[in-house]
Symmetry: D2
Subunit: 299 residues, 4 copies
């Protein structure tokens, strides 16, 4: 049977809610500064089974077409996302964090992770190189990198992340990745933050090993944005419950598996969304740093 | 009523053939070196009306997944496309040609034109700067440029092309552009060459004025490759003749119009296909230039 | 004898002033917002002969290390440069302008022109496409493009500019180009604006024909920034008047002519300076447009 | 006193030879396929002191303007460099190697390391993913990555390399880096291979910790190409032994330290030279892989 592919806990919940199965999944909605924030709590056991997601907290922020925001609106959204990110910090967190941008820089739909990393204001090295600046600026302790993809490095992302974690010993990992959604309307308009790490098969590329507290020994917050909808998923949705599954399967066979639905301006949108995520991270860790200050520090 | 969008004469013909309407459209098939070459002759009047294409010759080469070809296969395909391109040369052509790469360099799905231009070996300036080299190498007389897009220049592509044609007075124009197809299987796997020029609305971006012998006073050969399928077109196809059009329309309304179906590796594929087209043009105009020689001249 | 190479009228004047020759060259200095602005008036005849520059007004703004400016300082400098640019507008100017970015996008030291063009807010097309927006925003009438370089297009830049001018018929041309300086300290720290157009041999690449009112029929303001110092010029300066010219010539022969002195971070600095120039042009033509508004319109 | 800066053992030897000091440094010259190969053996103690280089073998290949080579000449040079690289393999080497590209991708003069890494055919992951292909192709066991720079990651390159080495446990490390030379004529025309690793201060950027067998526990071969000559070094050379050092120092003070001499086409040359190094590594490790096969595997 064809399996609907989604990385969003919100969508997994929608699928199950339609089917009348809700145990172990609890959802809250809130509107902040005009943005809808939906928090999905997946509990262990039944919740995990139904959601097909690890137990934990999944925050969906409906950011809309954020790439069209003027600078004031953009700054407000950066602050909002930073606040949501802080909700997922381990209690009592005041240590260092490692930001990891997963995916392939050269494939637009998979590039949001590495591109977001370019927008992170790293400060870890300043503690020793420039302690004055470090203290006076109210910086947090951030380092960041993009591990690349297997076909370019010969090494699993997870393998590289693991070795860097050993060396840096951060108190927290923030992993950024492209996601798959099942709804066209969510392409680039939803940011999912969760405290459960990252699991195989997310996004466009294949990832063979998970990044999580279990595997790395450090809490992992993941941030993701849907950049693709499977052509097959779209077809299935359109054909609906009455449709001939086989027809869709046949039509998409062979070609469909290498295709997806994406936004016409995805190159530009990906770049802008990567900036949004990088800036939200800066804001979450570096106190009240303004968008302008970030631009200056990154130029 | 929803209108199926395609830039391929071959597909227009398929639509009509299904409907039992064939007058004024004649099709020939031939297999060369394992590649299927389909030539569609659209005649004036009834042919134009049915095909919704200008009267002329449309050559479709089914190049398959050309980006996976090893170097020998690639060289063979370059030679094949060059031969098909020469079929469309005006009779007795021996003059200069201007290659125009239409589209937006920064939007992957629309970038095949400007990227192909980067792979064209230009020679027009050598006639005066280096006449020895020019003669001994058996070069044709080529110049090339990419006019950019309206939002970046403030000028219509057609307006810029027109003014350059006035200055350069070439005997032939070759215009390269991204196309829309209605079949997933044709994404990046079909090259269409035709002798009728380029008309508004082709490909991803909007183009307000045509490029044709009528408007420019010079014959225009166009080369196009489908890089997108409308999400709406896919939906329509899937839903088929029995389906509720309104359902598809509703589902896609708003969002669908900004989306399309594309290949997962479209960044890489676009780059490779642009190289294929540029090299085919070099081969068509510069005698027996080999792929290796082109690489050297362009490095 | 070795000829000192400079595109800056200011430097030509310095050379002559040292030699006690000043007739026909008049210089004014002014400090605005902390930036030194030097205006060199070259008069016809003796002035031209001594300055080796066309008669006209050359404004040098000592912008310092503008790439280090925080956003407030940057905005102030944009406004200052816009004001200086307006000083060179033809009297009674209220028409359209065409911005031309000369040079090679792919060679860092020669790329400031095409990269500045990417930062220009073009509006010419809005008059017809969106007259409401056009009027209410207080936009001027700008279009912009980069003609590329001979080796990539087969056409002279001047030839392309000429043909576009014929089509667009602007009331003014603003041409941006990389310059050569003879002083290390001026690399990327000086902006020269002049009302005399652009002449062969400026900057890194060769340009065979001038862009001027004489050749194009439209006034041409040029904006340039030194991005290179000839290695040979540096050597000559160091060796000074007492030195053995022949020694320098021998040492640099062969290799020296393909080399230049540049800044270690020239990639980043070029990008930032291109942004400065593009934004100054926007400010000069589009009323009180702020840096923030430009960023939004260009994103 | 001003210290002449060079990363080339060959140049260190020249300086000392002029001064009549040669103990502990032995040099051999050989011409292979028209390329001059100079091997400098630096012995422990006196050799190290004079050469200011670690004891070991330094091979200089005078590759000339390799970016102008036609494909046959390029293939021959790839094979020659591969052979020289194999001379430095630890005796009995048959294990896995990790290729590390040091430097900043975004600064042309410092980008040769990361750009070379993009041209390495990695195979480590194929042993498990595709053992058939792996065996039949005669591949060696390569993985590769670029650790980025401190200001972008917050982590020292050496720190990252160290942690990856711990994870991958290769039998050999090949580190690629940009070098400084003292002679203009050597810019991009010399490749230095040595078996002593990489030490602080090489190339354009600062590197705080060495990469060597002592620090990493694995033999480190380094490959470097001079991409810059200090403006100050050039000045010193020009002024010669009779010159007023103070004059040069004054002239270059402040500005000179941020400047260097480089080739006018350094963007293009760096890209081509990175390809040369990457391909030489492929050839050294992957048996008789041809340039064509590498192109196919990397496309």
């Amino acid at each position: 049977m064809y399996e609907i592919r989604t990385d969003l806990a919100l969508e997994a919940h929608e699928i199950n809610a339609q089917a009348g199965r809700e145990d172990g999944i609890r959802t809250e909605e809130e509107t902040i500064d005009g943005f809808l924030v939906t928090t999905v709590h997946v509990s262990a056991g039944e919740g995990e089974r139904l959601a097909k997601k690890k137990a934990g907290t999944y925050i969906n922020v409906d950011v809309g077409k954020s790439w069209l925001l003027a600078s004031e609106g953009f700054a407000a959204l950066v602050a909002l996302l930073a606040g949501q990110l802080r909700r997922l910090f381990p209690s009592g967190f005041s240590g260092s964090a490692l930001v990891v941008g997963l995916g392939n820089y050269d494939i637009t739909a998979d590039s949001i992770g590495p591109k977001a990393v370019e927008k992170v204001v790293v400060t870890r090295h300043l503690r020793t190189l420039n302690p004055q600046l470090y203290k006076s600026a109210g910086f947090g302790d951030l380092c960041a990198f993009a591990p690349g993809v297997l076909g370019q490095t010969g090494m699993e992302s997870a393998e590289i992340v693991h070795s860097i974690v050993e060396a840096v010993r951060p108190a927290l990992i923030v992993a950024i990745d492209a996601l798959a959604s099942r709804r066209l309307a969510r392409l680039a308009t939803t940011v999912q933050l969760c405290d459960t790490g990252i699991y195989p098969g997310a996004g466009v590329s294949n990832r063979r090993s998970e990044l999580s507290k279990e595997t790395l020994g450090v809490p992992v917050i993941s941030i993701g944005v849907p950049t693709v909808v499977d052509a097959a998923t779209l077809a299935y949705d359109l054909l609906g419950k009455d449709a001939d599954e086989q027809a869709a399967a046949a039509l998409l066979a062979g070609d469909g598996k290498d295709m997806f639905v994406t936004l016409k301006e995805s190159d530009v949108i990906t770049k802008q969304t990567a900036r949004l995520l990088g800036f939200a991270i800066n804001r979450a860790f570096h106190g009240d740093m303004s968008v302008e200050e970030m631009e200056e520090l990154l130029s």
